[in-house]
Subunit: 307 residues, 2 copies
């Protein structure tokens, strides 16, 4: 009893609320004690249903005395709970903390996404910023180049502990829509979550895109190689994956000698690591498990229990 009341920090409920799923964790001090999972991503929550969904999954945690709740991810988008306007780059923990969007004052807040400006258009992220901050914290980094591959891959430059700049690439989404909805899909196997990689054909795709030319042309080769029976459907799936990842890598400014931090799922790490090896880039791979660390770092200044 004595030990619990002596705790110097408020209990923390952390929610990573994405488009198709929802993860939550409960922490005392800096220890994650419990995690939960739900399929109630923002697209499945009915209008006005966010408070109820959160209560159902995490009600007991939220009822802890002095509990603080931070929610990151798409819950802060216009399609989510409510819009938490983007925080402009450069941004680190301090800037994000100032831009928290409070739903219940000093109890429940949405973490804003980040925005930055390119000459032609703005760029945005929502959810990745927490993962990035967690990665920096876990590895004691203050200056780094990171890539978070995925549906919308993010290439991120960190300077002096803050996210200075980033660029998004629709690599994963283009791969998926071309495969599922274009003529290429007619001769490729159905998508599945654990596809074996054909390394040789993947590398061929990467190399071709790195050479230049246009993806609009290279993509058609997936069709013709199949029409001419020059590669199997599963080999061509790897080739297509290599083409789009190679196209993403083609335009990066990768300084020789410096390290690129690769943050993602095991399956994507394998592919990006393989492709980056062709470019002789030095890589450090990290799991995509830094979200709770990032949210705890962000919450730290808010968890002092008032005397």
């Amino acid at each position: 009893m004595t030990k619990a009341t002596a705790s110097p920090q408020r209990p923390l409920v952390m929610v990573d609320w994405g488009t198709s799923a929802l993860r939550a964790a409960f922490a005392r001090d800096n220890q994650v004690l419990q995690t939960r999972h739900s399929d109630q991503g923002i697209l499945k929550v009915p209008t006005g249903g966010f408070p109820h969904t959160l209560q159902t999954l995490c009600g007991d945690w939220l009822n802890e005395p002095d509990a603080l709740c931070l929610i990151s991810g798409m819950a802060g988008s216009a399609q989510g709970w409510t819009l938490a306007p983007y925080c402009p780059c450069p941004a680190g923990e301090a800037e994000l903390a100032r831009h928290l969007h409070w739903i219940a004052p000093s109890r429940i807040a949405l973490v804003p996404g980040l925005s930055c400006e390119h000459p032609h258009a703005p760029d945005v992220m929502r959810g990745e910023e927490v993962q990035i901050l967690g990665t920096l914290q876990l590895h004691g980094l203050r200056d780094a180049q990171l890539v978070l591959p995925g549906t919308h891959s993010k290439w991120v430059t960190v300077r002096d502990g803050r996210i200075a700049h980033f660029s998004t690439f629709m690599t994963g989404e283009l791969f998926a829509v071309m495969r599922q909805h274009s003529i290429l899909g007619r001769t490729l196997p159905e998508m599945s979550s654990d596809e074996a990689l054909d390394g040789e054909h993947f590398d061929q795709g990467v190399r071709l895109s790195l050479q230049g030319g246009s993806l609009l042309h290279h993509l058609f080769g997936v069709r013709t190689l199949s029409l001419m029976s020059r590669a199997s459907p599963s080999a061509l799936t790897s080739y297509l994956s290599g083409l789009v990842i190679g196209e993403e890598l083609r335009v990066q400014h990768l300084s020789a000698g410096s390290t690129l931090w690769l943050v993602g799922s095991a399956a994507l790490q394998t592919r990006y690591e393989r492709a980056l090896t062709l470019l002789n880039v030095k890589i450090q791979t990290l799991g995509d498990t830094a979200t709770w660390t990032g949210l705890m770092a962000l919450a730290a200044p808010l968890r002092q229990i008032s005397p």
Copy 2:
């Protein structure tokens, strides 16, 4: 009566059998006398149903004494009537005529598509070759660079009256699938066949792609410009169109001073002409109506009536 029997050439039935529709024409000598249209594209014809579909639409023409019938387009693909293997480039009328795939000996033939080899993959066309031959014939061309914009745009080099080489770009299809099936579609208007072009935003998209960088990144700008309310949905549709067309043009070898022949529908001509003007390319625009001319040129040596 005397005049008809004195006709020096066999009557000609021409069929342009595509994926989603079917056009047919009947010619005596070099005059197209009648045309017909049907929605029975190859995807709608049941297995084994091609002879019946052709008979239903053109039976009276086929019953003319000595009638010859040439069928071009996707009817010669593996999903069509039967596979007419590709004729390799370089190819002109003589090569195509030698590769005709006879269904009823000396009466009904499928026109093969063309193939050519790139270092990384083969390229193919099926149907466009007839339109190209017709265009050459109509304009007395023997050496030319042509572009046929569309779902799969074709860039074609003609030398000495034959198609020497070509490259396909999935420009139209990528535009359509990203718009209909990716996150970009959430903030763009539904597709329609007669969309007004926002010239200013179209040009912005073209210019950005011509500058370089990657389409995978530029596409995401369509999303962020909308999120930040910096352009209207219809303006962004034109911007997206400009991005993909600019990407197609970025990698072409367009020799200054020479003429590019632009063969396509009015709507696409407007867009390509506008984009090519930004590159100072000299253009000649042509309608997409040369198919019958091309088929007549191909049929000419076969139409002598045996004495």
